[in-house]
Subunit: 247 residues, 8 copies
């Protein structure tokens, strides 16, 4: 129940068309409606802030994904993440025009139309980190935020990063993905005076502990402009970067 | 050697006042100077992006802190963090007009004058998290970014948070500090479509593992607009928030 | 040897039909029988408290499961958990009328008939948590306790939870399953003044550490009415909830 | 604004003593009050479910504790936990009739008057666990729930536990505290068909990892009627037990 | 109630001096006495197997320790462990003839008189491990088992260990304490064909993780005759070694 | 060079057939031979203490296992552990009379003939722990030590354990395997005054952390007669038990 | 831009063929080129220090590996690591004369020609560690450094190690691989006064935690000449050893 | 028994002053002496490789340290590490001419005289890491190896590091200390083609986990010339660097 509904109800009460009990009863339910408004925690808020509800396809069946995707695509732009190629076909058929990208394992269609301050740069050290970066890139695409890909510029190729510093300087915010030791965000954080989103990846072996090592590295970064998202969470990195890039 | 110096040198070469060998020799040293420019990793970059070098006082003696603070304060705004009250006196004497705040354990003076898009909101659950929040607040103050304090609005007092939602809506970015279970950033992340900086604190006991539990909670947040900084890292949260708030 | 047997034996002694040695000998064995009574740790106690011994099928062969299930089903209600579909057939054939549920991976038949105070509500955030919840639901079914399913009401859909608050209010105790950040039990714990059983699930990735992150979140819950069971332990959550719901 | 206040306001509207704008304005604030009602996460809910807001004194100053305690004690029963003896004096002076217990480190006054189904038993292995148990006991006392103390009955004294089994059988729910290996909840869980609340304590050394070892033991309990709270969380254990014991 | 008591009671029943009800009532209590016998988990069993109940003084007050020590010393040999020098005086006064050893932090008096197969050797790498070893040595002394101290024979002094191999060969079982890397038990395990009890100590720093590193080393020992006790658990190591050394 | 060789050499020196230089040179090499004697770390020592070198088949090819097994079987009793059924055939063919046991995944032939003090009891909680126990049992068999199997007597069936207490009392040492919470060794340790070898298994899920939880439980056992081996290390448990059981 | 380019440019300026603006513009880009020189972090530096860029084939497709290998092989010696046999064929075809080694999973061709001080010894305990050692050996081969393989000399065969001590003494540096308890590097570190590179392997089970246990052992080594590389990092161990062995 | 003693004994045998039995008996003891030679694990080896036994003063009393220091100083150069200022006086008095350095907490006197290939560079990020670096520097001093201190050149001051690259290039091996994120060794490893010894320090807070975070970073370094020592192990880093620097 929104304000309009409440006014209407109170008008009825005032006119004698409703009695106190009825209004109290309705208002008792109202908080749920108000809280429906409160459910800014929900996809409603998502839509309002320029991002439709996103489908996390892991542990869902191909049929479930297809059903949800069709439903959401009817309401606006669509983004499905962590969708294995083997499960993508039904959803692709369900949503005409949807594009499945096997690298980022995303299915998407459409894009938000909101004003942005500038592009987001996405850096990573090596080719193994690219799938996670592409998940961020597709997320930005759906948010209508331009992405600058600066791939394969790890500490073992820093001159290439430096050679592309102009692109970093154009960005409003920089996503930096790294596995193994995870030192790249600190280095980039020292190069550009922008917010850096550290994106640890599970690339590595042994003492990288499935991404815990780069995660800790980034959390302890001596470059104070680095914040961190979960391991392999390309979507989250892309989404926050998109929010920062918006006007 | 800065651009001005290079121009002067090249002018001398052109005029025949210097020969190629001399210029090559000078330029050979230049990269270090250029790299001094490259040292965007360094406080030079800091100053350029609107934040002077910050002193982390832990493990430094009172005399060391005072000496560094005097040196830095001569160049611009000053911020010293993690400065125990017992070590603050020499630095306060060394920097006329510096303000020591015992809650955030910071010493500061002056502020940046850079255009900002809007204020930063700082939320926390309870009184125990306030010192960490105040470190963020003082950092923002030195950066010249207005801060909105929304304290004592933990999950056990969410209505107070909701009552102050207007203030959250005015903010460009929201810092959310929480210890124990660390669920507050997710809740705030669901309420406002802004970037949220999760700031885990070491408040708690037992299975909170000195802040590891809220850190993990925030990294796994189902609200995708949450990024995370190190445990008790109020300065880092404030600094990134300030960068995001800038134009 | 139960009390009846002891009385009989003592009567024989009194009547002179048995001598002291014989009775001492029999009583010497009795503790084991008494301890059989003591073995309230065992399925005997289980049966008495209204729950037959439950079969944990993991690491057992299909043939072993079938044999045990047939034996137990002859004595009362049957519950087999963690039974993969591929191993279920022999047990289904062994126990006429048994129902295999592929979602919860349970095989069950019959139900306890004991008085209950009211239903148990089972909440979860998303569809991925449903199998664990259904294990709890089937457990309650066998215990003869009604279950109210409140699924898909995670923090990203809290309004739906609130819309169904009446159902939560009807419950005597609430099971709340959550993976990833595991914040839902705290939120539900703040909404209803009932005992909450936090049920962490292994749904998530990266820093969720296979369920350790939501487990820690729940253990550190700022809502003091939350207790916690093992990761993915739907049976345990259901069983404790059933005990609380009983008169 | 509670239901009574809303009825009064609506009556005024109906009688023409208030107009729609005024009522809308008042109700607009109401959601916050309603959300105060929603803030079942908050002490309002606490009071309704029979437990006033509880003060966690750790990291608060003696003066803060005294101020909060005075405020709360004016509204109902008072419970302050984790209050070191050295900080207790101001709060004791602030609340006439408050009792400070140095063992449990609690300050309390008054008690709830709500119907209960029966007492709560509190068991522990050794004298080192008693402070944590007493925190649970004082919590139950404030909740108006009788507590049966069954202390010093660890695995190294199980016969004493068994000798007092009648007391356990009288309880509606049993709290079992244990440090070191934490096996006692499983043993008690096997003896009595009641909900068991495992309360791991930080008593131990070396590989007990500050309570992590007994916590893991309890989470993996083979007795399925065991749920677990945080390490040393006597208040939480007492609170949940009190909720379960209520009618 | 012991066997003698049962015979007496049955005699009375047989003679008609007691009726069945009385005997059943008495026997109903008996299991607890029998379980007192069952409480082999308890100090009764301890005494029977040649070891009195041992007092773990940590977290107990000096007065509590003194009271318990006086009580136990009246029944047999006495052993108090982890007793800081500052708390020892009252217990020393309470037990005439008790010896306090500040190195092992034990208070002891008397010794068991049971046949043994041979001595126990106690090895350690360096002087820092000696306090833990002495706790084992005093335990063995109270058990009446001779101890051979082979101290300061770490990997950095292996020739000294080898020089004393004859002593190791005379031992029935060898306790090997080590901190840091914890490799000594494996080396000793390879030298002598005896059961080795690995006793990890918290001696070390950094990645020794308070004794976790040597604990893991010993658990993974490639010498298959190594078993392990808790970190710094000299009493446990001594007690098990004493049991193995007994006939 | 063995003692015989040295005598021969010294005889030559004495007879003047060798000079001092030659003997010194030979003796300088001797330590390696002596150290061959020193290599009590090696299978030579193994054989002497009554246990041949044991083959750990994991990560070895079927052909490698067969070659090693043939070689060892020519020298004495044979034991191969962790040999998957799929790799066993070549080794079975290579060693006439070898017995492959699919439960314990061992291949064995022959047995030591050394005097023993009595049997070893092997307990476990459930059927899932049996393979690990059987590895211990086969190890004992090869060592010529009788084993008493007391399986399926977990905390959820303690009366069965108690019913078989006589068998435990006959044992010289008891191996107790347990997964999940790992409490069984403490319980058995309280029942019998014998050395207990705790054998944690990886049976369990979630917070059992692949056997870490029962491992910690056993290390923190309040029964002081418990020592611990590595997770699933049935061979190690059996070997140490066999050593203890020997005269 | 290298020094030659700069000289040419300055010559043009001096001759009036370029003006200051043009040169400043060119030099502004120069730092990137200089930084290309700075990118000693990169394969350029690698080549200069005598090691071409190495391809880590994990997570790369067979086609990607082949393309990169062909490119690199055109510039100098080639080393591809972690290349599964199933992915090796395209790269083998792409690089004529390349050798694929299925044990170390490496593809290599050619070798550096730089002066070395002496050979590198590679030790390991058992056959399971050989693949990791061979990765180090092939790395050394490509670096042009002779390797001495001292395999199968674990603590359970130390006399064989001692017998080959002469080979260890000839080495400039010793790589010591070990899984399980990881004690071998300490033992070797005590035998030879050379730098020891501890190479923990994931060989083991249970509490070896995938190599964490030997890693911790080596980090806590009481032999102070031990440094450590990542778990299973044969390439890294070989590379550092090769650098140390160079003149 | 050393070689001289053996020659003397053999001379007696040859002259008929001793018989074979006597010599065999003496030689039977000899291996221990030979093993004293074997005890290259011991300080004898240390001395031979140019490093006397080093005293780790932690957990030793001032008197113990003084006694050991006096004894060792009589035999050669002296190095005592981890010696708190409060415990240093007796040792200083005991060893004439010893120098106590409060920064590195070392006591030392004298130096080895062995040929070296060149100096060792010691880098660190900030002033907090200096004490650990100085422990390495003093170790090198005692080894007679020149040290180049390159302090305060962390990622936040990389240009200073680059400005001093000539010094790094002169070094044979580089020690790089870092706390917090620990990225500096990778950066230095990319700059210079030398062996890098990563020295993680416990400088940091929160998720640096007492040095575990930089330790993991260094173990996962993408610069393959990095090996790692224990947290805060300045002595170990210095010792290995000294060995590498020797001819």
């Amino acid at each position: 129940m929104d304000e309009k509904g409440i006014r209407k109800l109170l008008g009825r009460l005032r006119r004698g068309d409703a009695d106190v009990e009825e209004v109290v009863g309705a208002l008792k339910g109202a908080p749920y409606e108000e809280l429906g408004g409160f459910a800014t925690l929900d996809h409603h808020r998502m839509l309002r802030v320029g991002m439709p509800e996103v489908v996390f396809a892991e542990r869902k069946t191909a049929a479930q994904v297809a059903a949800i995707a069709r439903n959401l695509a009817a309401r606006g732009p669509l983004l499905v993440t962590r969708l294995d190629a083997g499960k993508a076909a039904p959803a692709r058929r369900a949503v005409r025009g949807a594009r499945y990208d096997p690298v980022s394992r995303t299915l998407s269609r459409g894009r938000m139309e909101l004003p942005v301050r500038g592009p987001v740069a996405i850096c990573c050290a090596g080719t193994s980190d690219i799938p996670v970066c592409e998940e961020a890139a597709v997320t930005l695409e759906v948010m209508g935020v331009p992405a600058i890909r600066v791939y394969d510029v790890g500490v073992a190729g820093l001159h290439r990063l430096l050679a592309r510093r102009g692109e970093l300087d154009r960005a409003v915010v920089v996503i930096v993905a790294a596995g193994m030791e995870g030192a790249l965000p600190s280095v980039v954080g020292g190069l550009v005076g922008k917010p850096i989103i550290g994106l640890p990846t599970s690339v590595g072996y042994g003492a990288s502990l499935g991404g815990i090592a780069p995660l800790l590295t980034m959390l302890n970064s001596c470059a104070p402009n680095v914040t961190v998202v979960n391991i392999d969470n390309g979507f989250g990195a892309g989404f926050v970067a998109g929010l920062i890039a918006r006007k």
